[in-house]
Amino acid sequence: MWDYSEKVKEHFYNPRNAGAVAENNATGDVGSLSCGDALRLTLRVDPATDIILDAGFQTFGCGSAIASSSALTEMVKGLTLDAALKISNQEIADYLDGLPPEKMHCSVMGREALRAAVANYRGEALEDDHEEGALVCKCFAVDEVMVRDTIRANHLSSVEDVTNYTKAGGGCSACHEGIERILGEELAARGETFVPAPTKAKAAKKPQLVTLEVPEPAPALAADSGKLTNLQRIRRIEMVLEAIRPTLQRDHGDVELLDVEGKNVYVKLTGACTGCQMASMTLSGIQQRLIEELGEFVKVVPVSAPAHAQMAGV
């Protein structure tokens, strides 16, 4: 049985706001039937103030899917749409005193439903940017799509590389067989053969830790409704990176924006950040901040400079 917090159980046994909201004016349907999770979120929004007056959910899913739907409806009531869109997955999970790593996608679903409902209210089309693979690394909740994308973007060829870039495999190491399998397939696809690293003596050196304290961003332009232009989008991404940069520089590292392609934001970590075990922690911090700032899902993909040159060359 899953190790659910008391809060998760409580929201599952006594879900708040179950059912469709009467006289709702926003609906968001998301989910994947094959994964066994699907959610409809309905909102009643005050057209004058954009404040969410009422929220209701209907969920086909497991205990934590129902609990995080319930939590989300509680969290958004009384917020403006823009404020509600800033709620992150982690905040939903935190509200519930945490979710098991395998269950984090349940909170993703809540966020996606909210985005869908807001898009529906504003009469916008919602782009499908959701991608999810089977969980590879349970210690750090890294899925197969992330591992493959990072291998491709950086031309990676070893388990150690994958751990350095994504953190997958950096904990208990039980998933190394799975990472080797993925590497084998990815390398074969680019016409190479996977060669495992030789067995070596236990390393004595300790990884240097980079702690990331992300300062609150400067009072940003009020998040305007409507889609950002490419230029606005890139400016915002740069703004977030600028805000984070001092923290990295304090630890003798730095970050550079290389490219933005759809939902993928390619960055280069330099200085002390390269190869640092904590780099992926940094990356997820940057990603979280970008998602909040842009109000859309983006994925931060770390790229080393030569790999990027190669990408550009293709």
Partner: protein
């Protein structure tokens, strides 16, 4: 009512007589059966008796055909890898799409190592097509490995007939009978089965002990080398207490065989009929006319299994589900998918598996508790509205990412 345990296909409670028989082997009878002194000798005699009990339960011809292992999975791995090692010129395996992971994931691994693996498909009732099977038997096949009874649905495969067909084609046959042993009568000496796996904890023996039945004369290569135990076929000091326990559990299983196939079956049928009468949009999966007497697998449409299990657990009922969420995977049970059960039903499958300890009062409790739980979850489901599925569920509710 507290604690109605209907998850006996996952594991069973150890029989009191089994526990009593085991206890001396932790204390006064602690000897190593390989030792020359009397401490060991007594243990050796107890193991011999246990081996004969298992032999009798399986209807095997010789007690030396019983090899004790640490679990059913070890017996499966030993059988499959032995067939490949002993016949290196044969590079093909035949199995089914609905095997337990103990067989299936090993076969997938072997496929990645270059072996050819044929997985026989099943129809919507979980049945195999024996013509397809016959067409695959050939000189390159090292082993056929087909489960006797499915752990999720209880559906029985015609393994005796399939073993005969393999035998006639000169192909070795193994069956994972972990769910069947102790629940249905077996008569291996009159079958063509070469190898069979069983697991102690599925028949009221403790966890950590299993058996590989190996027909005399079957070519064999051990998985574990390094000792003379089990006639050199499975090295490692014997798990004496558990083996003694398995011996007693085998005797008890024979005593209860008639009960299992009459009383347990009656309770299972009562449970199933009671639930189906009270819950609309629910159906039995697998082949109801040909299955284990203790297993009922019911799909509750438009709701998800883990949520059902959590609510059942709250009222003291233990069962299991084929939903993706219960395993942490992204797909529902491979058995349900192989039978082409739609996703809206596959995620809502719940397996109730009974044992000889199950009582009438417990079954009545479950029949009372299930319908309101299903109704409660359907009220939350976007696929449900009022008293039935939302009109044209697919069109009514169409989530945006797939």
């Amino acid at each position: 009512m507290n604690n109605v345990y209907l998850d006996n296909n996952a594991t069973t409670r150890v029989d009191d007589e089994v526990v009593q028989a085991m206890l001396p082997f932790f204390t006064e009878q602690f000897g190593n059966p390989s030792s020359m002194h009397s401490f060991g000798n007594q243990v050796g005699l107890a193991l011999k008796k246990a081996r004969q009990s298992v032999q009798k339960l399986l209807g095997a011809e010789h007690d030396s055909e019983i090899i004790f292992t640490s679990c059913g999975s070890e017996a499966d791995s030993t059988a499959i890898l032995s067939a490949l090692k002993a016949q290196p010129e044969r590079k093909t395996l035949i199995t089914t799409t609905v095997e337990h992971p103990a067989v299936l994931s090993l076969c997938d691994y072997l496929a990645s190592e270059g072996y050819t693996v044929h997985k026989l498909a099943v129809d919507k009732r979980g049945r195999l097509n024996l013509d397809d099977y016959a067409s695959l038997l050939g000189d390159d096949v090292a082993l056929v490995s087909v489960m006797w009874a499915n752990n999720e649905t209880g559906t029985l495969f015609p393994v005796e007939e399939m073993a005969r067909m393999a035998d006639e084609a000169g192909v070795m046959f193994h069956t994972d009978a972990v769910q069947a042993v102790g629940k249905i009568p077996l008569d291996l000496q009159h079958s063509s089965i070469h190898m069979l796996s069983l697991s102690g904890h599925k028949l009221h023996a403790p966890k950590g002990v299993g058996v590989l039945y190996l027909r005399r004369g079957t070519r064999f290569r051990p998985l574990l080398r390094g000792g003379h135990q089990e006639r050199g076929r499975r090295a490692g000091t014997e798990n004496a207490a558990s083996i003694v326990g398995l011996g007693v559990a085998a005797e008890r299983a024979l005593q209860f065989m008639a009960h299992e196939n009459s009383e347990v079956r009656r309770l299972r049928d009562k449970l199933e009929a009671g639930i189906l009468a009270a819950v609309p949009y629910a159906f039995v999966t697998g082949d109801p006319g040909n299955r284990l007497p203790n297993t009922a697998n019911i799909a509750f449409e438009y709701i998800e299994g883990e949520a059902i299990l959590l609510l059942l657990n709250k009222v003291g009922i233990a069962a299991s589900s084929g939903s993706a969420c219960t395993s942490g995977s992204l797909e529902p049970s491979h058995v349900m998918r192989a039978m082409d059960i739609p996703y809206t039903a596959a995620h809502g499958t719940v397996r109730f598996s009974l044992s000889r300890y199950t009582t009438e009062a417990e079954i009545e409790h479950v029949i009372r508790e299930v319908p309101p739980i299903v109704a409660q979850l359907r009220k939350l489901s976007p696929y449900w509205s009022g008293d039935g599925p939302a009109q044209e569920a697919d069109k009514e509710f169409a989530p945006v990412y797939a």
